[in-house]
Subunit: 339 residues, 4 copies
Amino acid sequence: MERKDYLRNPVKHIKINSPLTVDQLMQQFKNSGSLGAGRLSAACDIYEKMLRDKECTVFLALSGAVVPAGMRTLIVDLIRKKLVDVIVTTGACMVHDAIEAVGGHHYRANWSVNDGELYKYHLFRIYDILVPEEDYVKLDFKLAEIYDSIAREYEGKSLASNEFSMEIGKRLTDEDSILRAAYEENVPIFIPAVRDSEFGFIHWLHAAQEKPKPVLLVDAFKDVPTICGICARSPKNGMIVIGGGVPRNTIQSSALASKKGLDYAIVVTLDRPETGGLSGSTLEETVSWGKMKGEGDRVMVIGEALMVFPFIVASVTERLGKEFKRAPFLQFQNQQTEG
Amino acid sequence: MERKDYLRNPVKHIKINSPLTVDQLMQQFKNSGSLGAGRLSAACDIYEKMLRDKECTVFLALSGAVVPAGMRTLIVDLIRKKLVDVIVTTGACMVHDAIEAVGGHHYRANWSVNDGELYKYHLFRIYDILVPEEDYVKLDFKLAEIYDSIAREYEGKSLASNEFSMEIGKRLTDEDSILRAAYEENVPIFIPAVRDSEFGFIHWLHAAQEKPKPVLLVDAFKDVPTICGICARSPKNGMIVIGGGVPRNTIQSSALASKKGLDYAIVVTLDRPETGGLSGSTLEETVSWGKMKGEGDRVMVIGEALMVFPFIVASVTERLGKEFKRAPFLQFQNQQTEG
Amino acid sequence: MERKDYLRNPVKHIKINSPLTVDQLMQQFKNSGSLGAGRLSAACDIYEKMLRDKECTVFLALSGAVVPAGMRTLIVDLIRKKLVDVIVTTGACMVHDAIEAVGGHHYRANWSVNDGELYKYHLFRIYDILVPEEDYVKLDFKLAEIYDSIAREYEGKSLASNEFSMEIGKRLTDEDSILRAAYEENVPIFIPAVRDSEFGFIHWLHAAQEKPKPVLLVDAFKDVPTICGICARSPKNGMIVIGGGVPRNTIQSSALASKKGLDYAIVVTLDRPETGGLSGSTLEETVSWGKMKGEGDRVMVIGEALMVFPFIVASVTERLGKEFKRAPFLQFQNQQTEG
Amino acid sequence: MERKDYLRNPVKHIKINSPLTVDQLMQQFKNSGSLGAGRLSAACDIYEKMLRDKECTVFLALSGAVVPAGMRTLIVDLIRKKLVDVIVTTGACMVHDAIEAVGGHHYRANWSVNDGELYKYHLFRIYDILVPEEDYVKLDFKLAEIYDSIAREYEGKSLASNEFSMEIGKRLTDEDSILRAAYEENVPIFIPAVRDSEFGFIHWLHAAQEKPKPVLLVDAFKDVPTICGICARSPKNGMIVIGGGVPRNTIQSSALASKKGLDYAIVVTLDRPETGGLSGSTLEETVSWGKMKGEGDRVMVIGEALMVFPFIVASVTERLGKEFKRAPFLQFQNQQTEG
C-alpha cells in the first residue's frame, strides 16, 4: 500500500442535531468511522447486508442475560419479521424465556445489595436483576408436565436439542415467548448445552419419578447434522453473536464442518482475546480455521451486548423500512409435526 | 427492606418500532432498566437533571481519542449551547483539536496494519486512526508562534493551565475548534497535565531557541484554587467523565478540596475497578472520600466512551428540545482579557 | 462495625529477597493482603483449606485453552496426586488433550500473524498458538475407531457425558493425557456441552457411515443426577474455576440442585460482572441463589487463568509438602467397568 | 514464512515439582511460551536484558495504587539496588508514599463495604484498602512545612517536577520511603501531573496563607528537556509500565522527542486497546510513532500490575544472583544540591 492510500478517508466529525433517529446517528458514526462508533456502524452495515442478501441464512447466537435484560420482545419481533433464521442459545436463556411464559417475572434491582438477605428472601440475583424462587417453581411444575407430554409423544425416540426447544415452544401459549414465536415461525432453536440449565434439573425430577412412564430422551449429538446441513445448503451464512460461549462456538464450528465458512459475522462482546478463550477471540482468528471466509464481512463491537444490540436492530430496521419483506432462503418445518 | 420491596419493578421488554428517535429508544431502555441499557438510560436522566438544575455547574472530563474519534464538533456544540460549563482534559486531547485547527486531519485506518510500514511513511497510529507527521509539524510551527505571542503578552508572569488553553484558543481562528469555541463561550478548559503532550515538547523547542526572548511560563499549581473556587461557589456540581485519568481525578479532588462533594456524576469507561486505579474506580468509592455526596445521583456506564457518549447527548438534547436555553450559574470571563 | 475495626490490618509491604520460592512470595502477598496480590494469596489459602478438609470434594472447572497453553501435565499431576476429585470441562478442552494423546502438538506462534496465510497452510490459530489440521485429522480417525468400539460395547444403551469421557480415556494409551489419567485415577470428567466440539463433528461422521453398525449414543441429561449426587453425598464441596462458561455453571447449579451450596470457591477469570453473564458474575451473587453458602470461603482473582493457576498450584503444593497424602472423601469407579 | 517455520516450537507443558522458586516456575512458563504465561516469562527475559545491557537506562512508570497495595518496599529495593534508573509517576503515588513516610498507614479492608459509613468515619477507600483522614492531615501539616522550606531555598526560582520530588525526598527521613530512597540514590522521579494530587491542594493552602512569604513555584514544562536529555544521552532506553496514564505517555513521548525510540518495553495492564486511549494501546502502535524501535524487545502482560510485577522482580533478581552489581549508564546528581 502506498502512503497516499492510507490518507483517503479523513474522520468526519459527528454532528448531533436533535432529534435524530437512531439510524441518523448511526450514519454519523459511519462518517467518523473509527473506534467504537466505527465498529458499531459497521455492524449495522453488515447486518443490513445479510438481510438484503437473498442467499444468506442469518444465525443468531444468544447467551447471557438476554431475557432478564429486557430483550425478549426484541428477539420475538426479529423472529416474527424473519430477520433471523436460526437461533443458537444456552439453556439458561430459554429457561428465562419460559419463566416469563408461565407468568413469572424478572425484577430490576441494584448490584450492590445484600446477597445474604436475598438468599433468605428466596430471590435469585443476576447482577442487578432478581428472579423470585416461586417463579422457578412455577416453571418446574409446568415443564415437568411438558416433559411428560413430549415423552409420551416420542416414546422410544430421542430428540435433538432443536426438536426439544420446538416441542417446548409448541406447548407454551404465551405469544410473547421466544420459544413459542420460534415454533410458530419455523425458526429452529438449537441449545447445544441444554443440560446445563434448569432444563437439566427438571429432567432429573421428571426421570426420577417412581411410577413407570416414558422418559424424555435428548440425544446430545443429534442436532449436529441438522445445523451443519443448514450451513451446507445455504449459499451464504451470516452470524450475529450476543455474548459468546457455546452458541458462538457451535455456529462457527458448523460453518467449518460444513466446509462453507461464514460470509458475514458480527460479534458484540466485552470478552478479551488474550486469554485464548473462544468468546473473546478475534474474527481474524476464525479465518485461519476456515470458520469464516477471509473475504467475509466481519466486525467485533466491544461493548455490553445487551446495550449495543438494540441500537443495531433499531438502525437496521429503520433502513429496511416498513415495506421490507424477507423470506428465509431455507424453509424449516417446525409446524409440520403438528399436522 | 422487605421482600415485596424488591419486587416492585418488573423488567419491561424493549420494543423497537422503527424508526425510533434516539430518545425513544432510550425510554425503552429506561423501562427495561437493568444492565447496560439501564445504566445508559440512567446516565441520560442524570445529565438531563444536571442541565435542568439551575444551580449546577457541569464539568466534562475528556481523555483518550476524543477528537480523532470524530467527537470534536459534538464537544464544540455542547460548549456553544452551554451544555457544559467547565472542561478538564489532557494535553493530548487539545493537541488533537489544535492539529485540526491548523488544517491537519485524522484518517480512518485499520487496527491490524503494519506499524513498521507506518513508521516508514511517517504516519502515527491511534488504534484504527492515523495522523500524518506533517500535520504535527504544521502544529509545531503554529504553536511556536503562539507561544512567542503569549510569552510577550505575559512577560514576567506565569499562567495557569486554564489561562494557557484560553490564550491558545484566542489565537486560533478555526470556529470548529474546541479551544476556540471554549474561548469564545467563556468555558474554562483545565489541562492539569498539559506538559505531558506535544504542548510540552513544543515548549522545549520554544524555550531552547537561541536569541533572547520572553519564555512562556506555566505554573503547575496555579489552576488549583481556580477550579476549587468554581466548585465552592457553585451550589451544585455535576461531572461527566469520558474515559478517566487525570481529568476525572482533578474534578473529583476539586469537589473534595472545596468541601462540596459532587451532586451528580456520570462515568463512561471500560476500565475496571479491581486494580485500585482511579480510572476504573466505582462512584461508590468516591462517596467514602466525600468527593461525591452519598445521596448524589450517579452511574457508571461500562462501554467505549466514544461510542456511548453521542447516544447520551442525542437523547438528552432531544428531551430538552430546540427551545431550551441554559445559562451557567457561574459566569467566567475568558474574553475579558481581550477588552 | 466500629471505626477502629476497620483499622486493624495495616498493609505490610512486600519484600523480595531472591531467591524466593513461589510460596514464600505468596506469603508476602498475604501480608500485603489487598488488590490482586491479596486475592491471589486468598485463593491459595482456600485451595489449601479445601485439600486439608477431609470432607470436601474438589471440583475443577476447565474452559478455554488449558491444554494449548501448556497446562496439560499440570492437570494430569493434580489428578494423579488426588488434588482434584471431579473435573467439569468443555468438549474443546478434552479434544485438545486427545489431539496430543494421538501424537499431535500445539505450536507457539504470534497473535499478530496473517490469518489468510495460516488458512492456506491449514494451520488453526488459538490466539498465539497453532494446531495443524493434520493433527485434527489424526484425531478424527482415532476417535472414529474409538466411537465404534464404545458403540459396540454399549449397544442399545446411552452414555452420560462422564461415561463418554471415561470410555475415551480407557481407549487412549498416553499416560500424559488428562482423559487417560482421569480414567486411571477414577476422577470423573463431566462434559455437559460435549456436542459443541470436534467430538460432535466426529460423531456426525461416525453416525453417517453407510454400512449398518451400532451408533454411539450420548444422553444429554444422563449426567445430571450423577454430578448432583456427588454434591449431595459429599459433606462439603469446593470449586476452582479456570475461565467460566458451562463448566462453572454446571458445578454451581449442581451445588444448588443438590441443596448443598458450595463451601469453598475460587474463580480465576478476566470476565466482568456488568454484562449479567455467568462467567464474570461475582461469587456474592451466587450466595443469593444458594449455589454458594453465605459463610463459604470464596475469592475471585482477576487475571488470565492460564497464567495465574500455576502460581496457585505451586504455592499450595509447596505448603502441603512431599509427604502430604490425600484421599477423596467419595470413591468413584471409573475402572469398575473394566472388571 | 514457510509452513514448517510455523511449526518449530511445540508448546512444552508446565511441570510443577514443588517447591519451585519463582524463577524455576518462570522457566516452565518460558517452555510453554504462549498466552499469559508466555507473555509473563517474556517480560522477565526483557527486564533481565535491560539490566544486563550496560548501555540501557531503565525507566519505571508507576501509576495506580502501588504503595497502598504493598509495593513500597519493593520499589525502594529496586532503587537502592540500581535496578531502575528513572521513575515517572503520578502525584497520587508519591502522596501515598509520603503518607507512610510521616507515619500514616494503609489498611486492608473489603471492596463491598458501606461507603456511607466510611464517609462518616472519615476513612477513604481505594478499592479494598482504607486510609484514615487523619493520615492525610498529618501529611498536610508536614508538607506545608516542607513547601515553606523549599520555597525559602528556591526563592525567585521555579522547580521542575523532578526537582520538586527530590526536594521532598531530601526533607523526609523515612528510609523506607520511595521519595527518600530516590533522593539518596540519585534516581530522578518525574511527576508530570504533580498538580493532580494532594500535592496540589496543599500548595493551595501553602500559597493562600496570609503573611507574606516565599511561595513554592513549580514550572509545568521545566522537566521536559531533562527527561528528553536522559533519553538522548543514553545509548539505549527501556521502559517498564505499571498501569498506564501520564507516566507511560511521558516516557514514550520523551523517547520520541529525543529521536531515540525505546529499545525495550514491558507494559503490565488490564486496560484494553480498543478505546484508542494511551493506557491500553499496544506496543506495536508505539512503533508507528517512533516511540519504540521496530526491532525493540517488547511485551504487554494482561494482568493486574500489582499482582504481576512482584513475580517479574522475584524472577529477574533470582536470575541475576546476589553478586550482580549494576551501575546506571548515566549518573544523576540529586545529592549535589546538598553540597
